[in-house]
């Protein structure tokens, strides 16, 4: 039984895990996930990979929106930048993924930096509109720059390869996507217990105070956009490698809204929340499809309803969370954890 705890050094007090138990559980979970693909069907491997990519994208968006308090509707655009950069570097230039993925992230970070400039003057809804403009600029560019992006027809991407290793199917891709996801999760978690991440949160909470504490608000807002877009750009890169063909149609504004839904449902300013939200929003249409598939014998008309149903349920869930649990699934999880920590003396 775990009943309270105490620490002997600051290092211990500052560690990522509150006690050895979560560390063991997490290692177990990671191990389980590593062997899972050996037993999963192609369908579930695809879903698993898409969940991982969504987790990366949601964490990236959470950096700028959840942790720094700057609303961004540019997620789909940044995914597109990462994706098309990957198409160009892997396809046209034939570069290996170990170079393509980080470079795609860096390129997206630079684009994000530029689109973050309005945040120095604008807040809230106004900033959201400015990032919306960014979205349409990217969409327009992707649609019309045929020689680079393939235009409306899209562009295909060769399988990810490196030194003779070719990741030709979803199972092999998983062993690229999964470690990148875990690595970025740890990276972001660490970022928020050190100087830069704390400065982001300070800006969100009280920007004048942050400035008076010596945080260069101007620089750190841009830095937040850059870090966030880097992470989203990596997600876009992996998405391109996994989908093998992308076109501007894959990055509609509704995708950006899906990602906002993930961080709201999961929890703004929470890594764990990004994970929950990404899993939930990715699985939602799959569950609806499985459900309607099962019922389609009796009611064939149901098959046409998957898309509108998804939109409806998505909207409903976001609204319910905003009303009943504005801090998202992560907060719910923490309540449950706190309850068990002192069980059975929960009061």
């Amino acid at each position: 039984m775990r009943c309270g705890d105490f620490r002997e050094s600051y290092a211990e007090d500052m560690s990522l895990f509150e006690s050895p138990l979560p560390r063991v559980l997490l290692s177990g979970l990671l191990l389980f996930l590593l062997v899972l693909p050996q037993f999963a069907t192609t369908y579930w491997l695809d879903v698993l990979n898409r969940i991982c990519i969504a987790i990366i994208g949601a964490v990236g968006l959470n950096v700028v929106t959840g942790y720094t308090g700057l609303i961004s509707l540019g997620t789909a655009a940044f995914l597109a930048v990462g994706g098309f950069a990957t198409a160009a570097m892997a396809g046209k230039a034939g570069l290996p993924f170990v170079i393509v993925i980080p470079l795609s992230g860096l390129l997206t970070a630079m684009v994000g930096l530029v689109f973050g400039i309005p945040s120095l003057r604008l807040k809230g809804l106004y900033l959201a509109v400015a990032t919306l403009a960014a979205h349409y600029i990217v969409e327009f560019t992707a649609t019309h720059w045929d020689s680079m992006t393939g235009g409306v027809n899209g562009i295909s991407i060769p399988p990810a390869q490196f030194a003779g290793l070719v990741l030709s199917d979803d199972r092999k891709m998983f062993y690229l996507i999964f470690p990148v996801t875990v690595g970025l999760l740890f990276f972001t978690k660490n970022l928020f217990r050190t100087k830069v991440g704390k400065a982001f949160v300070a800006i969100r909470d009280q920007d004048i105070s942050a400035e008076v504490m010596g945080v260069n608000v101007f620089r750190y807002k841009l830095l937040s956009f850059a870090v966030s877009s880097f992470i989203v750009g990596v997600a876009g890169s992996l998405l391109a490698y996994q989908a093998r063909i992308i076109s501007p149609e894959n990055f509609p504004i509704t995708l950006a809204i899906d990602y906002l839904g993930m961080v709201i449902i999961g929890g703004l300013g929470s890594i764990l929340g990004s994970i929950f939200g990404a899993i939930f929003i990715t699985l939602l249409p799959e569950m609806l499809r499985l459900g309607t598939d099962a019922l389609s014998n009796q009611w064939p008309a149901l098959m046409q309803l998957v898309a509108p149903l998804k939109a409806g349920v998505f909207g409903l869930v976001v609204i319910l969370f905003l009303i009943f649990e504005p801090d998202g699934m992560a907060a719910r999880w923490n309540h449950i954890k706190a309850y068990w920590k002192l069980y059975p003396f929960s009061y």
Binding site: Y10, A199, A202, E211
Partner: protein
């Protein structure tokens, strides 16, 4: 050379004159009080010194350098720290995190080293945690270090804000009514902390305070403002005996 020199500051807000031609200086190591009736321009003066307001005319010199045009963050890096009349803490964060942000200007971690954490960043975080813990011990707020600031009582929040300013290890500390809204016991504690900071740490301070008893007890020099003008400047005794000061205070209901 004085640590701070303010020359002929003029600050208007659409017709309202907050400061008209205010000059004064603060010596190194001094505990300098600024007093004056409500609306006299005390907070505005502090805002000009920390960079939150830009005066229309005049200049601010810190440690010999003209800082009039520098941003608040830049002045903080040079060693100016402050607290606010209406507490401006990061309400959603714990006391510890608030104080750790006070270490921002002393930290060297970047995105990469911070994200990787183990190694350089970790050693640095531990070192800064130790500095912050010293301040926590000094201000006797150990019991609330993991509490979210927004949940604390007003008097404690004031103390946390002082702690956060101290975490900057400033050379000039600006306190805007650090004892406002406190009960007698809390005031006494705060006065003791302020004296200790000035004497043990040698920090130069400017303190705005309405409680005359405290001002006369602790401060080395006093500057008096009234309707945006400096009407007196001197030791507590000199200022207390000044007819202009008595008039300014008698002319209105004591605040």
């Amino acid at each position: 050379m004085p640590l701070l020199r303010v020359n002929n500051l003029i600050l208007h807000f659409r017709g309202v004159t907050a400061l008209s031609d205010v000059s004064f200086e603060v010596r190194r190591g001094s505990l300098h009080a600024v007093i004056g009736p409500n609306g006299a321009g005390k907070t505005s003066l502090l805002n000009c010194i920390s960079g939150v307001y830009r005066p229309q005319r005049g200049s601010v010199h810190f440690d010999g350098a003209d800082v009039t045009k520098l941003s608040p963050a830049h002045r903080t890096k040079m060693g100016v720290a402050r607290t606010f009349q209406n507490i401006a803490l990061f309400r959603g964060m714990t006391v510890l995190d608030n104080l750790l942000i006070g270490r921002h200007v002393h930290q060297h971690e970047g995105v990469l080293s911070g994200g990787i954490y183990y190694g350089k960043a970790r050693a640095e975080e531990i070192a800064h945690r130790e500095v912050v813990e010293d301040i926590i011990d000094f201000l006797e707020i150990q019991h609330i270090r993991k509490k979210v600031v927004g949940t604390l009582a007003y008097g404690l929040q004031k103390r946390v804000e002082l702690a956060r300013a101290l975490a900057l290890e400033p050379r000039l500390l600006l306190l805007d009514e650090p004892m406002a809204g406190m009960n007698a016991e809390e005031k006494e504690d705060m006065a003791r902390f302020i004296l200790d900071i000035n004497e043990d740490r040698g920090t130069t301070m400017i303190m705005i305070e309405h409680d005359m008893g405290v001002v006369m007890d602790v401060s080395h020099r006093v500057t008096v403002l009234s309707f945006g003008e400096k009407i007196a400047d001197g030791t507590p005794e000199e200022v207390q005996g000044d007819p202009a000061v008595q008039e300014a205070y008698l002319g209105q209901v004591q605040g």
